[in-house]
């Protein structure tokens, strides 16, 4: 038995990858549950009914799916050009800061109807500008965007902490560091009594728009070519530097919108815990979707179901709160394993070493 590279790609690669990844995560989760003395089937039943069994559960899944979709799109658009945007987290944080600035400091000068558009715009813009730093470093000095986007996340988070511990801190909230509550004009409208907010529409429109942009415009075509063969792009006279800026700006704006949605749609202020790692989750979502924007919302909902289900599990069965993280980690490992399965196959035949 030995492992050899597949000579031709398998069919339905994206779907097979996703199914294998989810399957692997469920199997790994089952082992963890069994280790905790919980019947895995029962646990999964609780997860499913908790997440999908009630209107409120469904709405909460959708609430999670909004930032996951937007950060997923952010990672996907960059990766289409073979840029690895690990910085959706930092861009998300800057989106929150931009929206927060518009809500707290710009809204007094604006008519009510313009406050939400201003928050949207400032959130997207702040995320986009933050993403210009790794873009410039990459274009000018050839620095790997994987490193710069990742490291800048910490800078963004510390800067946000500085704001809500310092200049933006609400003097009336004793003990709890955070900004004052945003004025109501900046709150995104919600659906009925649920927490599902306008950001959901933004996410769906963003997915549709990005799909159209990549498939139906010359801009998108250039990006797809550059991602697949830089040599061919150069031969066809494409300006890859300009494209790098444009793509990173788009990615930053999408992640920024996710941050905006969280602070203007859910928390109504900036404080610790507004960024539970949606930027990194976006990488998983983008990979599950095979970088296809049209599929990103679907897998945003899948991962959202996992997270909400794990939440419910924790309260219903007294399992440790880290169970959600365990499942998410298993999903990522499953993704890597699935990638290997779709690229390699096991061949029969003797031989003690692999060529």
């Amino acid at each position: 038995m030995r492992i050899v590279r597949r000579t031709r790609p398998i069919r339905y690669k994206a779907l097979v990858t996703a199914l294998l990844a989810v399957g692997f995560a469920l199997a790994a989760g089952a082992l963890v549950f069994a280790g905790q003395g919980v019947n895995p089937l029962e646990a999964y039943a609780v997860m499913v009914s908790g997440a999908l069994g009630s209107l409120n559960g469904l709405a909460e899944v959708a609430v999670k799916a909004v930032p996951l979709t937007l950060t997923g799109l952010s990672v996907a658009v960059a990766a289409t050009m073979l840029l690895w945007n690990i910085g959706a987290e930092g861009q998300f944080v800057w989106g929150a800061i931009g929206a927060g600035w518009a809500a707290l400091y710009l809204s007094p000068f604006l008519p009510t109807a313009l406050v939400i558009p201003a928050c949207l715009l400032c959130g997207a813009l702040a995320g986009a500008l933050w993403a210009m730093i790794p873009a410039a470093l990459r274009v000018r000095y050839g620095v790997s965007e994987i490193l710069t986007t990742l490291l800048l996340n910490y800078v963004a988070i510390i800067f946000m902490e500085h704001l809500y511990f310092g200049p933006w801190r609400d003097p009336m909230a004793f003990g709890f560091p955070g900004t004052p509550t945003f004025p109501e004009a900046s709150w995104l409208p919600r659906l009925g009594k649920t927490r599902l907010h306008l950001g959901a529409l933004v996410a769906v429109l963003a997915a549709a728009g990005l799909h159209l942009l990549l498939a139906r415009t010359k801009w998108g075509y250039r990006i797809r070519v550059t991602g697949r063969s830089a040599q061919a792009a150069r031969y066809a006279g494409m300006n890859t530097s300009r494209q790098t800026y444009a793509v990173m700006a788009t990615a930053g704006a999408l992640a920024g919108l996710a941050g905006m949605g969280e602070v203007c749609g859910i928390h109504y202020l900036i404080r610790e815990g507004i960024n539970p790692g949606y930027g990194y989750d976006g990488i998983i979502v983008a990979c599950l979707a095979g970088l296809r924007p049209a599929l990103v919302p679907v897998y945003g909902v899948v991962l959202g179901t996992f997270l909400i289900g794990a939440d419910r599990l924790q309260s219903a069965m007294q399992l440790p709160s880290s169970i959600g993280l365990v499942l998410e980690g298993a999903l990522l490992l499953g993704l890597l394993a699935a990638e290997a399965v779709t690229r390699f196959r096991i061949a029969s035949g003797k031989g003690d070493d692999n060529v």
């Binding site: 801009w219 075509y221 697949r228 060529v355």
Partner: protein
Amino acid sequence: MSENAPLLSCRGVTKRFGEVVANRDITFEVRSGQVQALLGENGAGKSTLMSVIAGRFRPDAGEIHVRGELVQFSRPADAMRMGIGMVYQRFMLVERLTVAENIRLSAHSCGIGSREADRRMAELSERYGLGVDPSRTVGSLSMGERQRAEILKLLVQNANILIFDEPTAVLSQPEAEGLFKIFDRLRQNGCGVVFITHKLEEVMAAADHISILRRGRIIASVAPGEIESKRELARLMVGREFVLAVDKPELNPGETVLELKHFAGSGASGRTGFEGVNLSVRRGEILAVIGVAGNGQSALAAAVTGNTDAGLAESGSVTFGDETVSAPDWKGHHGIAHVPEDRHNTGSVHDMTLAENYALTRLDAAGDGPWFDLSRIAKKTQKAIENYSIRATGAEDMAGSLSGGNLQKLILARELARKPELFVAEQPTQGLDIASTEEIWAALIRQRKHSGILLFSGDLKEVLTLADRIAVMFRGRILEVLDALDADAVARIGLLMAGGETAEGDSQCA
């Protein structure tokens, strides 16, 4: 083992890939001291057969015997142990190491120590007339020298059956003749040689025995003496009658479209640049730049087209149309169409569809304003597929699924459709079969009416078929520009490609 058993014999070898039968019931043998040519068009199954023999693929049926002994290989190392060595088109050498280091490296893997390897290297290099300096890094060698290093490497590992996959594809005429001399030495020393090719001249010149492969079967097995003409060989190989020359009507050249003056520049990552190049191309003529690979042609082509990283213009001037630009400011022009040397990674994107590839350099025709209209470009692609008889099921096929010849025709069709002033073609038929080569040649000759054509080629036959004027390039310089109709001048091309009279002293091997 018996004394008079053939070195290698295949009996009824069959290899399938899914539905496709790449090799069907192949039986052939190579004896000690025999040079066996395996002739066939692209896609005839030559490479598959070689991979089966070299242990990369396992046959689905049939047997392979080495010196009379039945063998079953599960990987190339098994075949190497039995003395079967492959010389691939892409040499298996580490470019940053020296020749000696490369050879020691592979010698270690079959249990030969460094000192022993060095001793054998010197001895075998002498015996087979290989003449490569072991202390040079592989990256600095010409393609011919690399090939000799590769042969030496296999001989050091005790190979006595050598299989060459299209060995002359990367060589100039003199280098190819040098290779055939090495074949002679191998023959005298009792080795067996198999070489894959689709070039008829080579088969007639170098082979003791010819097996012709068509659609996975050996359809004829003959000695060169039994063949009456190249035409007969071509008919056997292709399965129909072929004219081996293309009609080239007389044409009076028009105005100058490109003029290079004192043009100089550098090549990418230490490769040969070019200097003092003075050339002009007129509408209605084909100017061929011929030279052994690695003499600055790639850099010159890149500097003229301005769209790859293989070279950069540094000084001199470029006149394109009525516009004269100094070299550092020259960035190419949209009136220049370009068929690049690397058709797989530069000229096309393998995991995009044919339609998407057809839009690569013609994005202006792919939709209005910012929109990319795939159906519009797909229609154009479909037309090109029909006009150039490209073998594909439709515009939705992936470019990577096309054979080299069909892909090249698609690229050619795309570039011709740009209606260029200047058409630059680099090695347009390298590695292609006869049918595709002829079609591409005919298309280039037709295009003369509309543009000036600058052809870069290492293939003397191609240059003689197409060119009106021939510029011979050696070590970054144009040695001479010859009139293609001047027979005396043409006769000197081979010598000029090897450096001509001036360099005779320091180049010991042709």
